[in-house]
């Protein structure tokens, strides 16, 4: 593989410079008087409020609540839907059984089930976990299904020739071979999990970052509201970065293989 082209200073610096100039742009717009200062506080104000809310534990607590719901829903979906998807992908009979139900439920926007979920589960954590679980299930399930279904015949034949029984075939051949597809299901589900967790907190909750943002808007604590938004932005970015790191480590082989290696 040839080493990547050397990047010029402009290419290297342009991203971070643009990112850092956003608060300055914000500050300029706020000070220009084009929009009401009440709705558009200065960046300096927002950042100051953000630091104090982080320091007094308000935002960390809210973030912890949001994140733990998101993680619980996401991991439950992963633990149940990857095996179920693989099983459906491998069995034409299960495919016939499940496909109509999946196709019917899949286009349903997850927020639509929040009111019903509130009836059964109240406005506590279990409702949010359930809604996140529901929203994450479909991308994970469908990708695991396709991944298992499209495992090249030669891989499974090879496994059988070298004495793999059903268990070894599934764990050592089919799941690794399907892992690129499974990972893309998880990659799609991850931001959905955050979106749905926040949204369900806005609709029915007494805590979490979603509730915090909406509440601050209602009591006209506008810098606080923006501080909540910034927190979510940063959290989303960090979660995604961590996932990409795991993805790159787990699927290092896949890129090399697809490129044809040496």
């Amino acid at each position: 593989m040839s080493s990547p082209r050397k990047r010029s200073l402009f290419e290297k610096a342009s991203g971070p410079v643009f990112f850092l100039s956003l608060p300055l742009l914000w500050e300029a717009v706020s000070r220009s008087g084009l929009v009401s200062k009440l709705y558009f506080p200065t960046a300096a104000d927002i950042i100051a409020v953000w630091f104090s809310l982080m320091a007094d534990g308000t935002l960390p607590l809210a973030l912890y609540q949001t994140f733990s719901r998101m993680a619980a829903g996401f991991f439950t979906a992963a633990c149940l839907m990857i095996p179920l998807g693989a099983a459906i992908g491998l069995s034409p009979r299960l495919r016939l059984l499940f496909t109509p139900a999946i196709e019917l439920l899949r286009p349903l926007p997850p927020p639509a089930i929040i009111p019903a979920a509130m009836l059964f589960l109240g406005i506590g954590s279990s409702m949010k976990i359930f809604v996140v679980f529901f929203a994450c299930s479909f991308p994970i399930l469908i990708n695991a299904m396709e991944g298992a279904r499209r495992v090249p015949r030669l891989f499974t034949d090879t496994g059988r020739v070298f004495g793999a029984g059903k268990g070894r075939l599934i764990w050592r051949v089919i799941l690794p071979a399907a892992s690129p597809r499974i990972m893309s299901g998880l990659r799609v589900a991850l931001p959905i999990a955050l979106i749905v967790a926040v949204l369900s907190e806005m609709v029915g909750s007494v805590d979490g970052v979603g509730h915090f943002i909406l509440h601050m808007q209602r009591v006209f604590s506008i810098p606080q509201m923006y501080a909540g938004v910034v927190t979510l932005g940063l959290a989303g970015w960090i979660i995604n970065a961590l996932f990409m790191l795991a993805d790159r480590k787990l699927l290092a082989w896949y890129g090399g293989w697809k490129r044809g290696g040496a």
Partner: protein, 257 residues
Amino acid sequence: MLEIKNFSKTYAANGACPSPAVENVSFTLRRGDLLVLAGPSGCGKSTILTAAAGLAPPTCGQILLEGRPVTAPPKEMALVFQDYANSLFPWRTVTGNVLFALEGKGLSRKAMRDAAASSLESVGLGGFGDHYPWQLSGGMQQRAAIARGLAYGAEILLMDEPFASVDAQTREDLEDLLLRVRERYGITVLLVTHDIDEAVYLASRILVLSKRPSTVAAEITVDLPWPREQVGTRSLARFIELRNHIHQLLKAGAPSL
């Protein structure tokens, strides 16, 4: 040790009339044989091999290993596929791929590592265990596939056009490697090829198959001296004679234009 009896395979395409690919082929693979199935492309050679490996049952006929019918891949046989890039697992290193063949055997970790290392050594991949297959050349990947078969402890190595996807020089190296490891491990080989020169060079016996639906056109015992040697063997008068004879047989069986 491996008997193919009245083997027939019919493929039923959707809607179309079922067309026979192989019709009533019988032969016996004896211990120590290097039997080559030679025939034109698409004549069903690979079909016979896949069935012998226990991967797809014949439509009619029987496959017997030491007298027992083969219904699933038996542990006495290993298969080397033509498409090495998709039969070596790309998520495992070369050593990992060889270890796969050892994982069902209940060996200790150390015994497995040692066995994998020694079989890689014997195909000349000693220093390449930590590479991924896709980091290696085609010839080296096929060596890794052979090492996996050796590590599995197979008595019979089934090979489906194993050297068809590599360049000429590499192909000669791999042919000689096969002859060497066969000698050293005392394995029996059933190899499929459409290359007549390769068939004559490698084989102790050649089964010439006719065009589709294929039947056995001839069985030829290759009486060339051992050990075979690329330049020497290929320039023997007997080599050329056998080669031309098979060529005639295949031409006679080929569709006339």
